[in-house]
Symmetry: D2
Subunit: 222 residues, 4 copies
């Protein structure tokens, strides 16, 4: 992102700190969702785990794998309880779900901003409902129109964009399905518990039921 | 469209005959919606109006304007009642709304077909739920997966595409708003009556209310 | 192509007749280039071979393969000599090289037209060298400029586009390399002879030498 | 640029320091090219001018214009001679020509690297000229081919890309033409002198002659 054009609150969502922070949120939610997993005391240690981007970068120089470096640093900070961090997970589980959390936060900033813009444009449109303006067709002057009508076009387009953004952000979903996405390790109910812990949308066509029921109740039917 | 890859029923929507036919549908609906317009007898003549693509092309050689050529041919076929055809309209009203009718017909073919495809893929996915298959990550072989799970991915994607298509086709709207779109000639209520005659969706943010109420009840509010 | 916006001479390059005609040109050049191939008398029969698009379409209904249908119709029209038509070739050889011939013809029309356009724009630019005009920056009026200077920008852009088109069309090449492009059947010298017969550009990095010399004299060197 | 995927030497071309440094190169070359401009002593001071990104950013907070902030900081560092910095120029002259210098440096890194890659691929292609490999058409196994032939395809494509990159970077040009690009202030000969000072390519269709000769000797002719 170009610093001079980035709002601070959006920039904050996409720093390395925020990225690893979102991955840490996933690791904690995943540890909490484990059956026969960490004790409550161990969970406390996991929830208190910390990292620095510098420490992860240093560790990566040895491991040559950024997610592994992140897990190592986080686990070390949690002491013996750290062995439960990343338990049964694959890198994509944490990277993709962490990204989903970042997207969710971005949406919480962008959608209201887009709605405010639509509202402001609509206000201006009403204000200029009777302001005469040159209409144009074929690239040249044509019949007169109202400046408010021109603005109304932008207001409506912006409103539709807000609807689209809201719809897109509403489809963000967790993805805790293990190696090659088969749920072979921990099962789809586990993904659901992790997602619930993060109040993430359950994709209408969530792949998890496919395996739970064998025939996928969420697959499209006639 | 490439003939060898075009389904006949879709091809039929996009012929010149179908295009002018849809424009004729708009002209008839527009004549019917006129207040203090044609008599019932005249309307009968308008509803019985005809054209041929050849006649329109011939007329265009003189007028150098395809919509004007279409209107001339159609009006001539309706006798004296033809003077009500295109009354108060601008070319875009008829061309855009005619295109909207063609799109609507295309959607009536495409959306159910997309849903059938999603269903068929889901059937195959269930059938192969236990068929072992090579999983791939990083472009090489990885943990095993199920062929049904691969197909389920396609089924879900196809289902989402059907939803998107349905949503897009549901936004098709009439556009009978006169020169530069100001409704200066016939007013937005007239557009609504024409659209109703063609059972076309009223765009949630229909521009017509902007002028009816002066402040556009459909413009986005906070 | 949309008929009303297509120049007749360009339209003529892209009809089904022209496409199969270009493929016929390739088949004839290929037969002529065969060593120990048809006799001179047989070549005469091949050069006199004919087809109709209707006949090919009819034949395709049985074969379900358009190139095979084309070959059958062409070969039947040449009598016993027809057995040499498509000898040792794969469909892609004829389809791709036929397309190359069509592209070459299109380029012979488009490049001079683009150069004429650049010239006309340059003429107008010189004519208006002293015509004052409003300059614009940041989307609003700025210092004055000359209308000729604006046109000169279009002239130069058009000239660069003509250069690019000429370069692109100059890279068109024959592709007579057999199944999966290995030259296993007829060898690269054969492709060269066919291309020469059609005065087609030899791609600077022609793949043929790769096999001729084993180490590809035309592959890039340090 | 994403730090983990950026080669340090390319990254160095695109820092804020490098950007303002390139703009400083332009300002110095522009001062040197002025007729009746700075004395030799003043030029020495201009050549010794300095800036820091922090100082520019601080100054921008007051001016709300980054190029103006850059000019102020640079001029202040040169003492009284600083009055010649940016003399007769518009922001675009310095920003665009500075960007051109950065692009030129990037090209000096990218083109040789692309040529090395083409060479390495060609070496591998020759090495595997006789390594049998599965050919594929229609997405399935087909006749056998050679692994070297597959690599030769990549080698040739890479070679063509190197040619394209070299051509593109060869078209980089200075743009010192004043407000709205009319050369009204300093004239095209001045631009030429600045460009020469930076050994920048003279665009084949350089707009400067348009004004020098009134009829643009470089405009395309029939």
């Amino acid at each position: 992102m170009i610093a001079r054009y980035t709002r601070p609150e959006i920039g904050a969502v996409w720093t390395d700190e925020a990225r690893f922070g979102a991955m840490r949120d996933v690791e904690i939610a995943a540890a909490e969702a484990l059956e026969d997993g960490p004790t409550e005391e161990e969970l406390e240690a996991i929830r208190a785990s910390t990292f620095t981007v510098d420490a992860i970068n240093e560790r990566e120089k040895i491991l040559d794998h950024d997610t592994a470096a992140f897990v190592d640093v986080l686990a070390a900070s949690a002491g013996p309880a750290g062995r439960w961090i990343h338990y049964g997970l694959t890198s994509s589980d944490v990277v993709d779900t962490g990204l989903a959390l970042q997207l969710k936060r971005a949406g919480e900033l962008l959608v209201p901003a887009q709605r405010t813009l639509a509202h402001e444009l609509a206000e201006k449109a009403r204000e200029h409902a009777d302001t005469l303006s040159v209409g144009r067709t074929h690239g040249v002057h044509a019949e007169p129109t109202s400046f408010g009508l021109k603005l109304a076009g932008y207001a409506m387009e912006t409103h539709r964009n807000a609807e689209r953004l809201e719809r897109a952000f509403g489809q963000i979903t967790a993805a805790i399905s293990g190696a090659v996405g088969t749920f072979a390790t921990l099962g789809p109910a586990y993904e659901e518990r992790v997602a619930a812990g993060k109040t993430m949308t359950d994709d209408e066509l969530g792949k998890m039921d496919y395996y739970v029921e064998g025939v996928g109740s969420k697959l499209p039917k006639k």
